[in-house]
Structure formats: structure tokens, C-alpha cells
Amino acid sequence: MTKALSNVQRQVSATSEDNHRGAGTPGAAISVQGLVKRFGELEAVRGVDFEVATGEVFGFLGPNGAGKTTTINMLCTLAKPTAGAASVAGHDVVRERDDVRRHIGLVFQDPTLDGYLTAAQNLKLHAELYGVQSDLVAPRMRQVMTMVGLWERRDAPVATFSGGMRRRLEIARGLMHSPRVLFLDEPTIGLDPQTRRSIWSYIRELKQREEITIFMTTHYMDEAEWCDRIAIMDNGKIVALDAPEALKAQVGKDRVTIDTDDDDAAIAALSDRFGIEAKVAEGRVTFGVPAGEEFVPRLFAELGMPIRSVSVSRPTLDDVFMAYTGTTIRDREEDSSKHRNRVMMQMMHGGRR
């Protein structure tokens, strides 16, 4: 792990020189200032600012309809910002569109493979479109396909692949031209847990092997944990941005739950000895402490009464999301789909008049 870390640091210093040309902080793989996107009345992205350092795995977390995909589309030069500026790999996404495209890899939410062609033909086509040096196409293809475990299947038509295999092939294809920034829009959506795990292994492996920055969106809370930093997006705005652990620490304390024979005595003892305010929830004594795991040995030593069982749970990203938006991600998705339907109805209504 330490070796991998130093590897990443070395790569960071190696690529930072290339990035001085663009706007924003030197060395930033992505730099975004006041980005806005409007679709008619609808303001999908309402002024977003952030920076992603080279070599980082940066996650965009939020419910469907929060503006994640719109933001990613603007960064990938697929949509023009209504206002604000962004640079990717040192190039402005509006003025230097082609330079941005040369340096980014894209994996979309929806499949974009040619099912009639074989896996290798799909990758070859990509390399030709991007103008990769001809003599390096074959070895590079071997590397990326081996990484995602599809080298053996290279001559099979993509139409015969399962959903998970296709997604892996898309990731391999996105890497064919050695992009400096890889954009993954919901790379694991709709996949089984096993395939999701393996895709995360590739991402981590990739980070160790290549000079690459990874920008991804997800609405799986557990996946966001893998990112170096995450931005929580809600209603077109970034409501929180930090390392997952730091975000959770901001939300507060670990939750400790204990089983005792005499709950009232336990609550009194907790108050006496530790100055902790505990309460009974769902028939058990529950309280919050900053570092739950370190507190447990002290609890056993100093409480002065028998404890039958104890459990410590950390705040989850769900708690974080809840803390910043006042709702859970699932509730928010239901709300926004209702809102979308309403907007759609209004549009249809307006169109008829």
C-alpha cells in the first residue's frame, strides 16, 4: 500500500508540469468555476465550483436528477455551459474542446458499444478514431483488456457479452488512448454486487499503475467510500465536499449501543463516570461518542457494571447526506421524479396551447 502511494505521488509530480497551461490551480486535473447549465426554465446545474487534483479518485454523489450527469457532460465537452468555466487536463472545455477530448476517457451510463463487432474490433475502432500510434494499438489493447479480464474473449462479438462484461469492456475502451482523466458516469449502475466489486478493483489497480485522475458519479453510498474525495450534489448544487471520512466526522459521533441488565443504572453510570448523555432507544442504551471503538475498552473497565453486548456503528454517508439535505437519498429521488413529471406535464400542457 505504501509503495502504491509513493507511486501515485511520483506520477502526480510528473504530470503537474503539463498542466500549467490551463486555467485554475496548476496541477489540477479538473478545475470548475461557477458552472451553470439551464435547459429552458429548468436550471439543472446552479453554480458549481470545485477542483480535482491529479491522481485523485473524485466522486460525485447524489440522487438521480441532482445534476451529476449534466455536470459530467459539460466537463466532457458534450454540453455547453450556460455560464461559468471549466478546464479539464489543463484545457478549457469550451475554447479547447478537441484538446480536452484528446485527454479524457469516457464511460457512459448507457452502453455505447457496437454489438455487431468483436471486443477487439471495438477497441481498435476507438484507437483509430483517437489516432493512437498504430504500433502501440495492439500492446495497449492487450494491457487494458487483460486488466478487465476480457483478453480471452477479445474475438467474441460484443452482442454475446453480459451486462457486466460490456461495462468492463467500455472501461477498457475508455482507457485505450491513455487518457489523463477518466470520466465514469454511474459505472456500476444495474450491475450485480460481485461485478461492482470487481470494477472497483480495476479502478484501484488503475490508480496504482497509470497517471490517471478518475472522476465518477454514483448514487450508491457504499461506493462513494472508495473515493479519495466526494462532492455531494443535490438540486444542482454541491452541498458538501471532502474526504468520505472527514464528511462523516463532520456529521459527528459514532453510535454505541449496549445491552445491560439495568438500563437506568447504566444511564446513570455513563453520566457519572464519562459525562455522557445516553438514552434508551429500541430497548437498548444508546449514546454517541467521537471515537467509538477506542471508547469501548474504557467503557468495560470503568462502567462498573456488567455489559451483555456492545455494538459500535460509524456514521454512514447516508447520515452525511441526511445532515446536509435533510432527507435520505431515496426520498429525494422519489421527490425529484415527481417534480420531473410535473415539469413534463406543464411542458406538454404549454405545448398544446
Binding site: L78, D99, Q121, Y130, L136, V148, S162, H177
Partner: protein, 301 residues
């Protein structure tokens, strides 16, 4: 299925981490060479898909052959009075050479709608190449595929008493390529605006069939009712069928009367339009439609 789905390489690469060598490549700045490379790969993809799709080779031939052999043979007796001893099949053969190309070219253009539906279009749209390269590659690919399909019909010349003369074959093939290119450009122009395959097929049906019937592929283009003459002269396919027929008939051993009746040529206000100009009309229309297609495609986000 689940056994093939588990990725084996991860374990392998962990076992031997040095085996997987990192090959670093780079993407050059956009240049004419890179655009040509993009055009070539888009063109080749059309050919690869055609080669994989044997069914399409057969299905797009059914209709032209039906017209040639069934309609041609069936109407022979009715028409024999007017054809001066020339078989009706021989007469409509040049028209069939054109429509075989036209049907295939339209089918090729439909691939843009498929690509959009299956998402592949997006892969091409985000590449660091000009949109025009993609459209040109598509048109050339469609034209090549249609040209190949045309050659299959050309091989049947002997069955309808048309000689296998090298000059004739080359001339016909050249005309077929021009037509194939223009029709593909036309199809691509339409396809870019259409999001669903079903609508595209409907639109094609609405355009292709009238174009085919009005073009004079099945009848000589003189002495028609006034309204039909007007329609015939504005139908682009007319300018492919007519030189094709002139070329084929110049290699037939038939009477002058038959030639006059069956191959009267296209006239504009009494002026006999030369074959070279007809070819130029086809090319010009193709280029205009290509330009519109490029413009449309560049405008889509």
C-alpha cells in the same frame, strides 16, 4: 453465463503484477492525417458490419430481382408489341441496376439511426475528430456496400441477354458508385434527423418507392402525361437510370427503331440532356446532401 461473468484476470494480475506491462500511448493533435484515419475506420466499420450481415445481402436483393424476373417476365406478353423484339427484362435491367444500389444505400444510411438507438453514435461524437469525418466515412462506407450489392446484380447481365463487355461493366459500376454515394448522402441527411428506426423505415418507404416508380426504371421517359413528365424530370433517380440505360443499350445488338422507342433519353424543354451532365447532376446532388448532412450533424449536441 455467471461463470463467464466472473473476471479471472484480477486474480491473475495480482499473482504476477509485473506481467501486465503499462503501455502508454498518446493522442496527437488533430490533423488531416488523423481525419483521414477516422474516415477510413468509419468506412471500414460499415464494411465489417456488411460482411457480418449475410442476411442483409440477400434481403436487399429480393425486391430488385422480383421486379426484374417476375414483373419483367410476367408483363412480357403485354409489352411485346411495343418493345420491338427486345425482352422486357433487358429493358428494365438498367433500372434494376440502379434500384438495387438505391435500396442498399438507404439501408446503409439507416445504420446512423441504429447507432443512435444503441448508443454507438455517442462514442463517435465524443472522439477528437471532426463531425464531417464521421459523415464522410459513413457515406463512403454506405456507397461501397451498395456498390458491392450492385455488382451482384451486374453479374446477372448474361441472364437478360446483356453482354459481359469490360467497358460496359466498368461504366455501369462507375455509375453505380456515383449513385450509391449520392443516395447514401441523402439517406444520412434524413437519418440524422430521425431518432427511431421505425420512423426511418416509414420515411424511406415514403420516399424510395415513388422515386423508383417515377424514375423511368420500368418505362421509357418520353411521351408521358405532362404531370408525370414533370415529376420524372425532378426525380434524381431519373438521371442515374437514363445514362445507365444508354450505356447498356449501346452494347446491345438491336434495331434502331427499338433503340429510339426504348432509350429515348431525357430531355429538358426539348433539349437532349447528355450523359455527362446527368452524371454531374447526380454528383452535385450528392455533394449538396452531404454538405447538409455534415451541417446537421455538427449542429447536434
Amino acid at each position: 453465463m455467471s461463470t463467464t461473468d466472473t473476471p479471472p484476470a484480477l486474480a491473475a494480475s495480482q499473482a504476477a503484477p509485473d506481467e501486465l506491462e503499462v503501455v502508454r500511448v498518446s493522442v496527437p493533435k488533430r490533423s488531416l492525417a488523423s481525419e483521414l484515419r477516422a474516415i477510413r475506420i468509419v468506412w471500414r466499420r460499415e464494411l465489417m458490419r456488411y460482411a457480418n450481415d449475410r442476411l442483409r445481402m440477400v434481403t436487399t436483393l429480393v425486391q430488385p430481382l422480383l421486379f426484374l424476373f417476375v414483373l419483367g417476365s410476367g408483363l412480357q406478353r403485354l409489352a411485346s408489341a411495343g418493345t420491338h423484339g427486345v425482352s422486357l427484362r433487358t429493358f428494365i435491367y438498367p433500372g434494376i441496376l440502379c434500384i438495387a444500389v438505391m435500396f442498399t444505400a438507404m439501408f446503409s444510411a439507416a445504420s446512423i439511426v441504429w447507432d443512435r438507438e444503441f448508443g454507438f453514435l455517442r462514442e463517435m461524437m465524443v472522439a477528437p475528430v471532426r463531425r464531417s469525418s464521421i459523415v464522410i466515412g459513413k457515406c463512403l462506407g454506405g456507397a461501397t456496400v451498395a456498390g458491392i450489392q450492385g455488382v451482384i446484380v451486374l453479374c446477372l447481365a448474361g441472364l437478360v441477354n446483356v453482354p459481359y463487355d469490360p467497358a460496359l461493366l466498368l461504366g455501369v459500376f462507375g455509375l453505380q458508385l456515383l449513385l450509391a454515394f449520392s443516395i447514401t448522402a441523402f439517406g444520412v441527411m434524413v437519418a440524422i434527423r430521425i431518432k427511431q428506426m421505425q420512423s426511418f423505415m416509414g420515411v424511406m418507404q415514403m420516399i424510395v418507392t415513388p422515386m423508383f416508380f417515377i424514375s423511368g426504371a420500368l418505362f421509357p421517359a418520353n411521351g408521358l402525361p405532362g404531370w408525370l413528365t414533370v415529376l420524372n424530370r425532378i426525380d434524381p433517380l431519373t438521371y442515374a437510370v437514363d445514362p445507365m440505360r444508354r450505356l447498356v443499350f449501346s452494347h446491345l445488338n438491336i434495331s434502331a427503331a427499338a433503340k429510339r422507342a426504348l432509350d429515348p433519353g431525357v430531355t429538358w424543354w426539348g433539349w437532349h440532356v447528355p450523359a455527362v451532365l446527368e452524371g454531374a447532376v447526380i454528383v452535385a446532388l450528392g455533394l449538396v446532401m452531404l454538405a447538409i448532412a455534415i451541417w446537421e450533424f455538427s449542429a447536434t449536441e
